[in-house]
């Protein structure tokens, strides 16, 4: 019986104490007809050894090719210390820190996490994490809607340069509350919104989502757009990449007095890609939005003896207190991932994060230069970029990517489905992990694919 400590003698003693004959008797309140049949689909129990063996075989089968994919999930170096510490039993197997005295470790980590995310985004208040970048974006939009409390129908303005999958999650989470999503088109040559984009939106709206960098890797004119949206009474939500924030102006400093909220995906901060999850969403805001914030919040306070301590606070926002009027239904967030990100950021520090960002900038530039050196490959967009770029090929992208995969290269993300107006384009990315050798390897493989040796 895996994981069950009882011996037969102990079970007998326990049944006696309870005053029942056998284990079945403990289920005597359950109507007879409801007893489950034997589980035939489930295989018999296997010891850890056998499970490890199957898992290793499958993981070996999934050995990962050289990856130039970004598009919302990024391969960065994760210091070995991050997960060696985050996976310690005291973090890994701890519960949500409701009992503050028994959870000072987790609570202080989250307080530090909040500080780091507030610093990065330039906004003073951060929660303790949300599920992922897309749901954090939806929660930010819902905050804006709640804050505005208008009688008229709610509307949120969303650029097409926001991650297409984020847009789909927004639809899922906003439509039950009948919040309209207005899409904004972008400049198909430059790859970002025109500074005057909001002129296309008539009437009142609650919020503008502003990705920076955007899904196409390009930088948006956030100052102008923030100014314009705020002038029209809407809230501005920056959707940002935390590594890029080492070098890019933070949402809290956009235009005159900043965006109102910032959110995004925390995976680049020390979390393995793991097919997309678990990562974590982050969400920061102005102080005036504090009571609209969903999720856990940790505050610093003092104990009976006056010593500094940390505790969950402002729980009146949450579902277990406010039930149907809570700011969200969220309970479990992504605590362990936030812990890992905190350790990661402490190990990098401001200088390390800048170096990572600089490597991303430089390597992506080198990648673009190497690939556009090939005939038939051009850069599709002219706007300034961070660590992703859109390349245009002289032929359909999908077969090229397949041919590259045969050579152990994930060559990028095909944009045909979501951005047909861009033609035969793909989105590529090179982080600090993709060095010159990798780039040269890609270049020569692509050269072979595009112009196979006669």
């Amino acid at each position: 019986m895996p994981f069950i400590p009882h011996t037969e003698a102990e079970v007998r003693r326990m049944l006696e104490t309870i005053g029942v004959r056998d284990l079945e008797a403990l289920f005597d309140e359950i109507p007879e007809g409801l007893r489950a049949p034997a589980l035939e689909q489930v295989p018999p129990a296997a010891p850890e050894m056998a499970v490890q063996r199957t898992a290793r075989r499958r993981a070996d089968q999934d050995r990962q090719p050289l990856c130039f994919l970004g598009a919302g999930c990024y391969e960065h170096h994760i210091p070995a210390a991050v997960w060696q510490i985050a996976a310690r039993g005291e973090f890994y197997s701890a519960y949500t820190p409701y009992q503050a005295e028994a959870s000072q470790g987790t609570l202080q980590v989250i307080y530090e996490f909040q500080t780091m995310l507030a610093e990065l985004t330039g906004l003073p208040v951060s929660n303790a994490s949300l599920y992922d970048g897309a749901t954090a974006t939806a929660e930010a939009a819902l905050m804006a809607v709640r804050q505005r409390r208008r009688d008229a129908a709610h509307r949120v303005v969303v650029p097409r340069t926001l991650h297409p999958l984020y847009r789909r999650v927004l639809e899922t989470l906003l439509s039950p509350q009948r919040i309209a999503i207005e899409l904004l088109d972008y400049d198909h040559h430059r790859g970002h919104l025109p500074a005057t984009a909001l002129d296309a939106i008539e009437g009142d709206f609650d919020a503008l989502l502003l990705p920076q960098p955007n899904f196409l890797g390009v930088l948006e004119p956030v100052d102008e757009l923030t100014h314009a949206a705020r002038a029209r009474g809407a809230l501005v939500i920056g959707v940002v990449n935390p590594v890029a924030l080492a070098r890019l102006a933070p949402p809290g400093e956009w235009a005159e007095d900043g965006a109102d909220l910032a959110c995004g995906e925390g995976q680049p901060l020390g979390i393995p890609m793991s097919s997309g999850g678990p990562g974590f969403g982050f969400l920061t805001c102005r102080r005036s939005l504090l009571r609209q914030l969903p999720g856990r919040l940790v505050g610093r306070t003092v104990d009976l003896d006056g010593r500094t301590g940390y505790t969950l606070t402002l729980q009146a926002r949450e579902q277990h207190i406010r039930r149907g009027r809570a700011t969200s239904n969220i309970c479990t967030n992504q605590g362990l991932m936030a812990t890992a990100a905190t350790i990661h950021l402490a190990l990098l520090g401001p200088d390390g994060l800048e170096r990572v960002a600089d490597c991303c900038l430089a390597h992506t530039q080198a990648l673009v230069e190497a690939l556009t050196d090939l005939p038939g490959v051009t850069e599709a967009l002219s706007g300034p970029r961070f660590h992703e770029a859109v390349l245009r090929l002289d032929r359909p992208v999908a077969p090229v990517l397949q041919a590259l995969e045969q050579q152990g290269i994930l060559g990028g993300h095909d944009l045909a489905g979501d951005y047909p107006e861009l033609g035969d384009t793909l989105l590529v990315c090179a982080t600090e992990m993709r060095d010159r050798t990798d780039i040269e390897h890609y270049r020569s493989a692509l050269a072979g694919v595009l112009e196979p040796p006669a």
Binding site: P2, P5, H6, L26, R35, A36, Q41, V42, A45, Q52, R58, Q64, P65, A71, C73, A81, W83, I85, A87, G89, Y92, Y95, A100, E101, A102, S103, Q104, T106, V109, Y111, S129, Y131, V169, P176, P272, M273, S274, S275, G276, R287, D303, L304, R307, G309, T313, A316, R323, A326, S328, T332, G335, L336, M337, G349, P350, D351, G352, D358, P384, E405
Partner: protein, 489 residues
């Protein structure tokens, strides 16, 4: 001390900083950050030492007994962590082609099948990233089903008064109104009140069984029939599934949709507050509305993600990519180790431990909330009497338990039982731990008899004593600032 307070300007963990090339392309001036973020500037040893020491300031399953009702804090097998950390799994990009993820998808597909069978449901989606998201997904599917039939008037969700707060919060998020019905004196839902609540506005009902008071809702089939007759659907909140895993199946009880908290029943780690995973299982009629993505197995035996195009009636996408895959792999490994014979044993021994602990506390004179009922995997005691006679509350007992090296049970929930503790020992704790819990409770009561003030002051042996929660809420200090600005603005 905070990590920030250990920093020194210019200090670095140099082995962690990559070396940028000499030529870094310049960002246009307008986009550039002007002020460096005040991240800590510490050495690698400082960071390692700081977070290692912080970890020691936590209770956790790996160090302490955690009898937290409704949270199923069981042992998280270390082997599951090893599985999810394998490079082939951990290093896979979510947009990589299916060819690079056949191993991972094989695990997820098996997990889907196993969960469908153990819940008695037709299909399973693993997309939800936690229980609350599973709930959202379930209610959204119920609403989509009604809408699909042109029935737009059903926007009322019935919820027992003892339900988890997430249930009404979820209903609100789905644009529904909540109708509460009372719990009877025996712990079961008040059937008459339920019948009265049902009607043409009923979208559905959200139920936990065993209920949040730790007893099995005996008339569940009767309730299911009544709700279905009224045109509503039944949602099963899987928070308490550990109590009946493999012994009673929500599908057989008449539920149409449910979620499972894999971080409870399937023992993926709580991680100090997540990540979780909230698998959603449905009967046939709701299957078309399941969220994307989901793993399917093609005729040729290959796996792929099923996307929006494959499932036009789907309620949509719950996460950027495919949910918390790393968590799901841990659940897969755990389920595989349990196997078909292990799953019903989880329920049997969780129930044994709860009933034994309940009997032990009762024998020592503690008052049960439902003394006539069998405990499921958890049970409620009320310290009303102790509060009245000795002036020590459920909170005092909880804090004093911490000094005994035992995590406090869930306090003051369910809300309608005064001074209550909801206690769930789980199947992985030994007899010795259970006996130690009873001993600790007796010792605390005895201490309270000697000197209640002593118990009010607990805990004494932890890194901090009771914290000033009022100050934390009134003067929120949510981030550190070099300037020590207490308003944090």
């Amino acid at each position: 001390m905070l990590i920030f307070e250990q920093a020194s300007e210019g200090r670095r963990a140099a082995a962690q900083a990559p070396q940028p090339p000499e030529q870094v392309p310049a960002l246009p001036e307008a986009f550039r950050r002007r002020r460096r973020p005040a991240l800590p500037e510490v050495s690698e040893l400082q960071a390692v030492r700081h977070y290692t020491r912080l970890s020691q300031r936590n209770f956790s399953i790996d160090t302490h007994f955690y009898p937290l009702g409704s949270c199923t804090m069981k042992y998280n097998p270390r082997g599951c962590h090893a599985v999810a950390s394998l490079p082939g799994f951990a290093d896979r990009h979510p947009l990589a082609p299916a060819t690079t993820g056949q191993g991972m998808m094989a695990c997820l597909h098996e997990l889907q099948d196993w969960l469908s069978e153990v819940t008695g449901m037709a299909e399973t989606s693993l997309a939800a990233m936690a229980g609350a998201q599973g709930e959202f997904c379930g209610v959204a599917m119920i609403m989509a089903w009604h809408a699909g039939r042109g029935d737009h008037e059903r926007r009322e969700i019935i919820v027992p008064d003892a339900a988890h707060g997430t249930n009404p919060a979820t209903a609100a998020l789905c644009g529904c109104t909540v109708r509460e019905i009372p719990t009877g004196a025996d712990g079961d839902v008040d059937m008459a009140a339920l019948r009265e609540a049902l009607g043409p506005r009923t979208a559905g009902i959200m139920l936990t069984n065993p209920s949040t008071v730790g007893v099995f809702e005996r008339r569940i089939r009767e309730m299911a029939d009544a709700v279905h007759e009224a045109g509503g659907l039944l949602y099963y909140d899987g928070a308490n599934l550990n109590a009946i895993l493999g012994r009673v199946r929500p599908g057989d009880m008449g539920f149409d949709v449910m979620h499972l908290n894999l971080h409870k029943t399937f023992s993926t780690p709580h991680g100090g507050g997540g990540p979780g995973a909230g698998a959603v299982c449905v009967g046939e009629r709701l299957a078309p509305y399941l969220p994307v993505p989901q793993v399917i197995r093609e005729r040729d035996g290959r796996y792929r993600w099923l996307h929006e195009g494959d499932r036009p009636e789907s309620i949509g996408r719950l996460s950027t990519f495919g949910g918390n895959v790393g968590v799901l792999l841990r659940a897969w490994a755990y389920a595989r180790m349990l196997g078909r014979e292990g799953m019903p044993r989880v329920a049997a021994y969780a129930t044994l431990n709860a009933n034994y602990l309940m009997a032990g506390l009762q024998a020592e004179g503690f008052q049960l909330a439902y003394p006539e009922r069998r405990a499921s995997h958890e049970f409620v005691i009320t310290l009303r009497q102790e509060a009245k006679e000795l002036g020590v509350t459920a909170l005092d007992f909880s804090k004093a338990l911490l000094d005994h090296g035992i995590h406090a049970p869930t306090m003051y929930f369910p809300v309608h039982i005064p001074e209550c503790l909801l206690i769930e020992p789980t199947e992985t704790e030994s007899l010795a731990e259970l006996d130690a819990f009873v001993d600790a409770m007796v010792a605390i009561r005895e201490a309270a008899r000697q000197d209640p003030a002593q118990v009010h002051g607990a805990p004494y042996r932890l890194p901090v004593r009771r914290l000033d929660e009022v100050r934390a809420a009134r003067q929120p200090d949510l981030a550190w600032h070099k300037e020590k600005d207490p308003t944090g603005a």
